[in-house]
Symmetry: C2
C-alpha cells in the first residue's frame, strides 16, 4: 500500500477520520458508459470476460470519488460454474434453465470447476487502480443462491423454496452445505487474486422468520465468515426482524436496509460490529434539499457506532442521477466524523 | 343475532372462551369449487356479479368451520368505480389501463359513482348464512391502492410511487385525501348493507421507512378508523418496523406478518389493541407434526394479549391443502384460551 491510506480499511478498525462511501451496484446502468457497453454485449459476456468485467468495475472512478470498488460479477456467477445453465434477461432477471425441483436434483449441485475468469478480472482491476483504493469482492450467500436455483429465477412469494425447506429439511441442509463449501472456496480464490474486503449478499434471507433463519441459515453464514479471513460485510434485505441473529454471524460489518433507523435500534445499540448503510436508495429521487436532510439523519444516527461505512439501503437504481450520487459523496466526506460510541 | 354468539365478535371485547379463526383469501383458488367457477368466469365478472360473489364468499363454509366470512371483492374494486379501467391477469395480477403518471393525472381520480353491486352482494350473503356468523367487509388502504394506480399493477421496487412521493409530495397528499374520502364512503356503504367488522388492507405500506409512513400514511388511516364506526382490523405486510406507528392507527386489531414473534415484541407487549395472526402462510407446506408445533408457538405467544384472533400472516396460497386448513382450525378451537394479559 502506498502512503495514502484507505479510509474504508481504516473503518474496520474505527481509526478513520472521514466516513468512507461506496454504493451497491455502483458499476451499473445509471452510468452512461455502462449503458454503452451493455448495448454491445450480453450480460453473460460482461460477467465472463475479464477485460470487460475489469473495465466495468472501474467505471465509477471516472465520475465518482468512491472509497472502494466492488468486483463486477453476479451472485449467480458461482452456481453458473457448478453445473447450472444461467442466462440473464432484462425483463425477468436471471433464468435458470433446469432448476432444482425434487430431492434427487441434489446431485445437480457440483463443486465449481473453474472460476479463473474471476481471478483474472481481479488481477486486471488491480493493475488499473491506485494502490490505496481497496477492491471489495463478493458472493451470494448460500440461501439466496439456493432460492434462485429452486425458484428458477426471481420470485415474489418463494413458494417452491419454502415447500422444499419445510418438506425436505435434511436435503435442504445438504444443499446449503455444498453451497457453503463452494462459497468459501470462491471467496478464498478472490482473496488470493487480490480483494481486500468481501461482502456476502444474503438478499432474500429476510423472507424467513427468525427461528427458520437460525436453524437453516445462520450456521452456514457463520462458517463462511469464520473461514474466510478478510474484513467482511454481511448484507441482508428486510433485516430488521433478524438483527439479533445477524449480530451472531461473525461478520465484521452488517449492511442494513432502510427499515432500520440508525441510532434508534435497541439491538444495534449494543453491538460491537460495524454498521454499513442505510440511506433508502429511492430517496435519490428527492431534490438535494430533502436528500441532504435525510442523509444528515442517517449520519447522525451512525454516530452511535464506532465503526461505520456509508452506503445505500440497496443497489443504485438504473434511473438514478450521477449528479446526486456525486452530491451525496461530497456531503458524506464533509461530515465531521466524531462518533459517540 | 340468534342465541348462538359469534366468538369473533366476542374477541373484540376479550370475552371469548375459544380463539376465533378465519383466513385471508379463504374464498380462493385452493378450493376445488372456486377453481370450477373460475374456469367459467373472468375475475372481473366474479367480483362484479352479486350472485356469483355471494356464492364465492360462502364457499369455505362447505369444508371449513371458519368463524367469519369475508366479502369476495378486490382491493381495486373501489378504484374500478373511480374512473380507472382495471383488468385482472392470472400471470400479472391487476393491470391498470392508464395509470397515474404526472401531476395533472390527479384529475383522473373521481369520487366513486356506483358500488351497488357490492351492497347487493352483501345482502345476498346475509340471506345465505346463519345469523351468528359475522361478515367481514374490507377495503384497500389509500396508500396501497395508490401504489397500484401509479405503478399500473404489481411492482417489486415501487420506483414510480416513490418518485411521485418524493418529488410531488403535495400532489401525493391530495390523492391520499381523495382516496381516503372514497374509502370511508365505501366502508360505510358496506356497513349499511350489513357487514359487522372490516379489515383495511395496507399490503404495501411496509415498503416505507417509519418517518415516511408517519407523514404520508398514518393520518389518512387514522381518519378511516375514526370515522367508520365498526370493529376494525388493520393489516400490513412487512410491518415489524412500523408497529409503534400502527399502534396509533385507531384500529381495534392489528393483523401481523410472520416477521413478528408474538409474545416477544417489546411494542406489542405494551399495546391494548387486539392482535390478529400470524402463522406464516407458507408453513402450510409442512407436515401436520411441524404445523402443530409452529401453531402452538403462535398461540402461546398470543396469550400475552387480551384480545386475539387467529389468522395466517398473509393470504391462503392456491396450492394449500384444504385438509391442513381443517386441521389448523380444529387445533385452534381446541386450544385452551386463557390469556395472561
Amino acid at each position: 500500500m502506498s502512503s495514502k491510506t484507505s479510509i474504508l480499511l481504516q473503518a474496520f478498525t474505527g481509526t478513520n477520520k472521514t466516513v468512507p462511501v461506496w454504493f451497491m451496484r455502483q458499476a451499473g446502468r445509471y452510468l452512461p458508459a455502462y449503458r454503452k457497453i451493455k448495448e454491445k454485449h450480453r450480460l453473460e459476456e460482461m460477467f465472463g470476460n475479464p477485460d470487460l468485467a475489469a473495465k466495468i468495475t472501474c467505471l465509477p472512478l471516472k465520475s465518482l470519488e468512491v472509497d472502494a470498488l466492488i468486483l463486477f460479477a453476479d451472485i449467480l456467477t458461482l452456481p453458473s460454474r457448478m453445473g447450472f445453465k444461467i442466462t440473464f434477461s432484462d425483463q425477468l432477471g436471471p433464468v435458470i434453465a433446469s432448476p432444482i425441483q425434487k430431492e434427487s436434483d441434489l446431485k445437480k449441485i457440483h463443486n465449481f470447476d473453474n472460476l479463473d475468469s474471476v481471478s483474472q478480472t481481479i488481477h486486471k482491476i488491480k493493475q488499473q487502480i491506485p494502490d490505496h483504493l481497496p477492491l471489495i469482492g463478493f458472493a451470494g450467500a448460500p440461501f439466496t443462491v439456493l432460492c434462485y436455483l429452486i425458484e428458477g429465477g426471481s420470485s415474489i412469494h418463494f413458494n417452491k423454496t419454502f415447500r422444499f425447506l419445510y418438506t425436505k429439511p435434511s436435503s435442504f441442509h445438504k444443499m446449503m452445505t455444498i453451497l457453503t463449501e463452494n462459497t468459501i472456496r470462491y471467496l478464498k480464490l478472490q482473496q488470493q487474486a487480490g480483494i481486500q474486503v468481501f461482502q456476502l449478499f444474503d438478499t432474500w434471507a429476510g423472507i424467513l422468520k427468525a427461528s427458520d433463519y437460525q436453524n437453516f441459515i445462520l450456521p452456514y453464514v457463520q462458517k463462511i465468515f469464520t473461514q474466510v479471513k478478510l474484513p467482511s460485510i454481511y448484507y441482508l434485505r428486510g433485516s430488521q426482524h433478524l438483527l439479533a441473529l445477524m449480530e451472531k454471524s461473525e461478520a465484521h460489518f452488517l449492511s442494513l436496509c432502510h427499515e432500520v433507523v440508525l441510532g434508534q435500534d435497541p439491538i444495534l445499540e449494543k453491538t460491537r460490529l460495524g454498521v454499513q448503510g442505510n440511506l433508502f436508495n429511492l430517496l435519490l429521487y428527492a431534490d438535494k434539499r430533502m436528500l441532504k436532510q435525510e442523509l444528515q439523519k442517517v449520519l447522525q444516527g451512525a454516530r452511535h457506532h464506532q465503526k461505520y461505512i456509508f452506503n445505500l439501503s440497496h443497489g443504485v437504481l438504473p434511473d438514478t442521477s450521477v449528479e446526486k450520487l456525486k452530491f451525496l459523496i461530497e456531503q458524506v466526506h464533509q461530515f465531521p466524523w466524531t462518533n459517540s460510541a
